[in-house]
Point group: C2
Amino acid sequence: ILELNDITRVYRSESIAVKAVDSVSMTISEKEFVALMGSSGSGKSTLMNILGCLDKLTSGTYLLMGEDVGKMNKNQLSGIRNRMIGFVFQNFHLLPRTTALENVELPLLYSREKLSWKEIRERAKESLKIVGLGDRINHTPNQLSGGQQQRVAIARALVTKPKILLADEPTGNLDSKTTLEIIDIFQKLNDDGLTILMVTHEPDVANFTGRQIVLSDGKIISDKKNKPV
Amino acid sequence: ILELNDITRVYRSESIAVKAVDSVSMTISEKEFVALMGSSGSGKSTLMNILGCLDKLTSGTYLLMGEDVGKMNKNQLSGIRNRMIGFVFQNFHLLPRTTALENVELPLLYSREKLSWKEIRERAKESLKIVGLGDRINHTPNQLSGGQQQRVAIARALVTKPKILLADEPTGNLDSKTTLEIIDIFQKLNDDGLTILMVTHEPDVANFTGRQIVLSDGKIISDKKNKPV
Ligand SMILES: Nc1ncnc2c1ncn2[C@@H]1O[C@H](COP(=O)(O)OP(=O)(O)OP(=O)(O)O)[C@@H](O)[C@H]1O
Ligand SMILES: Nc1ncnc2c1ncn2[C@@H]1O[C@H](COP(=O)(O)OP(=O)(O)OP(=O)(O)O)[C@@H](O)[C@H]1O
Ligand SMILES: [Mg+2]
Ligand SMILES: [Mg+2]
């Protein structure tokens, strides 16, 4: 479903050249629940942005559901992103003067599903309820705690019922109990067919997945399957 | 050194009233290394902002080094913040179009210590080296990974050699190895006399401190001393 072949991503500016991702090849199959780990600066977010069609490759091929992403134009790329992929950003990227409810409704406005305003509102409310924010729907991001903002980002990523969830440190700002609630949601969705790739730096969280890929200096140094906890 | 007496902080707007901190009393003595824990939304960041003189109380008294903070004017407050307190924000608050080096130099420009430009540059470089970012000093925040941005925020909090470090989830975006490097820095500074209050949601990290305070719905529900690991 997600196939990276010899992917490299170099950041270049007048004074800087950083090989953030270095000749990475990996294949993620449908319904897998994979953890992506590695030290700070090892290339995880860069790899996630490439998989989420948010960033270009310097070299290599990325096949998404068998289609070559490198050959797509802007419209095809954003179409794929909206229909198939839910993305949780490491720094949330919520719209600042917009309520939690409106932030979560936003992806549905671009959706091809012809939803009524009422249906959009109901689905966004449901998504926020599931992550425990039913009583915060009218707060704007600066009226929310860090972990609450993170959960709004998760609710927004799931509201379009995507095929693939790319989550960059989705529990980084959450206490243990709230983390377990979120992982529980992910596991249920995975059982129902959602393919998940999740960046995490916590081994306890990684143990809930079926496979762990470790990056170091932009390269894959280990890729192990295991029995999830 | 830090004494909160019956502190309450209510957020009010036309449609919202949230008691983020509810009748909290606590005393932190010089040279303590304290962990502040609690579930997402329990009031930790709000409490930290009050302690860091960044936010007003709705009621109660806050004595900082014996002085009543509520009676200070804007100049006295910012003077205290610059001279005595280093603050690591949960969402970093780095200046976006400014390099890591310039971000870390900034607090020294306000410092009363009459430092030369050369000394300011050297101290900022040293602070970044200590957190492992010696080779990233000219990157701007969008050219840094999440964990690297977090470490710039830590370097900036420490560059003025404060008496008190208030760190809100300083390792939330860091892998285990980098986390241990940061905690090691904190422990050394604590041995040298730095008072530290650190929000963390990871029990492993809290175990390195000598005392753990737990918040729930704005109230302190437990306050235990322990032998640090
Ligand atoms: N400006 C605001 N207006 C209204 N409510 C607010 C505001 N800021 C925070 N809150 C609410 O106050 C409560 C405490 O927020 P706080 O940021 O202190 O929590 P926290 O313990 O730091 O959480 P986290 O672990 O998720 O970072 C939350 O329930 C939040 O929704
Ligand atoms: N726009 C950019 N220009 C130059 N270098 C960059 C840019 N963005 C990222 N980098 C560098 O690329 C490397 C990989 O960054 P990336 O964000 O993928 O790391 P990461 O594994 O997600 O780290 P973390 O765990 O800290 O979030 C880092 O060393 C970073 O400094
Ligand atoms: Mg990252
Ligand atoms: Mg917080």
